[in-house]
């Protein structure tokens, strides 16, 4: 099934959501992840963590990879192999080196009146695995995974 919302140019099919790089689409992405995570049987208490991690990844793409240009493409794919629930997010904007993003320092932000790197810090803390691949001039891809049924 493939549905196209003509007004917003967002695509949804069974495996992929494609949205344009606009902050108004963050809620579309959150709703999609919410439904997919519940369908995969994720503990509802953890669904919120996954939604936030994906929101942070997409916000970074909109602001940094596409520098707030509104017609970039963001592809979101959900994979579930019954051990791991993974969200793969691909963009075609500027490449990005996650190692260059320093750990957040709140005292410094306090003085600079700005926040940066909080999104990345949240992603790493909310998910079990965060992987980046960047092919300059082609695409960037971040994979966010949560283990299913962890031994606890």
């Amino acid at each position: 099934m493939r549905l196209k919302n003509l007004k917003t140019n967002n695509y949804i099919d069974d495996k992929k959501l494609i949205v344009q790089s606009r902050t108004e689409n963050l809620s579309v992405v959150r709703d999609y992840i919410h439904d997919a995570a519940l369908k995969a049987g994720i503990n509802p208490e953890k669904v919120g963590d996954i939604i936030l991690a994906v929101d942070e990844a997409c916000t970074n793409i909109i602001k940094h990879a596409y520098k707030s240009i509104p017609d970039g493409k963001i592809e979101i794919q959900v994979l579930n192999n019954y051990k791991k629930f993974t969200i793969v997010i691909t963009d075609y904007g500027s490449s990005f080196e996650p190692k260059k993003v320093p750990a957040p320092d709140l005292q410094k932000y306090y003085q600079q009146h700005r926040v940066g790197g909080l999104g990345m810090y949240l992603m790493k803390n909310l998910m079990d695995e965060v992987d980046y691949i960047s092919v300059p001039g082609k695409y960037n891809r971040v994979s966010l995974s949560k283990n299913l049924n962890p031994v606890s």
Binding site: E24, L26, E56, T59, L106, Y109, G119, L122, N125
Partner: protein, 122 residues
């Protein structure tokens, strides 16, 4: 589209901003506007009530960082109240409780401002 709204109530010298809905990179500018308006009016004693906030991302947290120093330079503060556990956990994960006073109820936060005022006038 994410639903988000704010309302402001004046409780004596203390200004309470009520947040409702989803605070993300799309809706954060609305909250920035509220802070900017209060600062323009030299209103620096601000309580933010999170009771009806369902969701916050780092873009929302950034708003508090953007204004706090200016507000404290003017002898004011931003005090936070009535967060649900989900929202508090995000603040906590990022270390915000070191920088902001977080109260269980709006009453306590307003009272704290009034106590400070009283001490200053003595």
């Amino acid at each position: 589209m994410a639903e988000f709204s704010t309302a402001v109530k004046y409780r004596g010298d203390v200004n309470v901003i009520y947040l409702n809905g989803f605070l993300d990179a799309h809706t954060a500018p609305q909250l920035e506007n509220e802070f900017s308006k209060l600062i323009e009016e030299n209103k620096y004693s601000i309580v933010v009530n999170f009771k009806d906030l369902n969701y916050i991302s780092s873009a929302g947290l950034g708003v508090f960082m953007a204004f706090i120093e200016k507000i404290r330079e003017n002898k004011g503060d931003i005090k936070l109240t009535s967060m649900n556990d989900k929202v508090f956990n995000i603040f906590d994960l990022l270390g915000f409780p070191l920088l902001y006073e977080i109260f269980k109820s709006e009453e306590e936060a307003v009272k704290k401002f009034n106590e400070i005022k009283k001490l200053e006038n003595e």
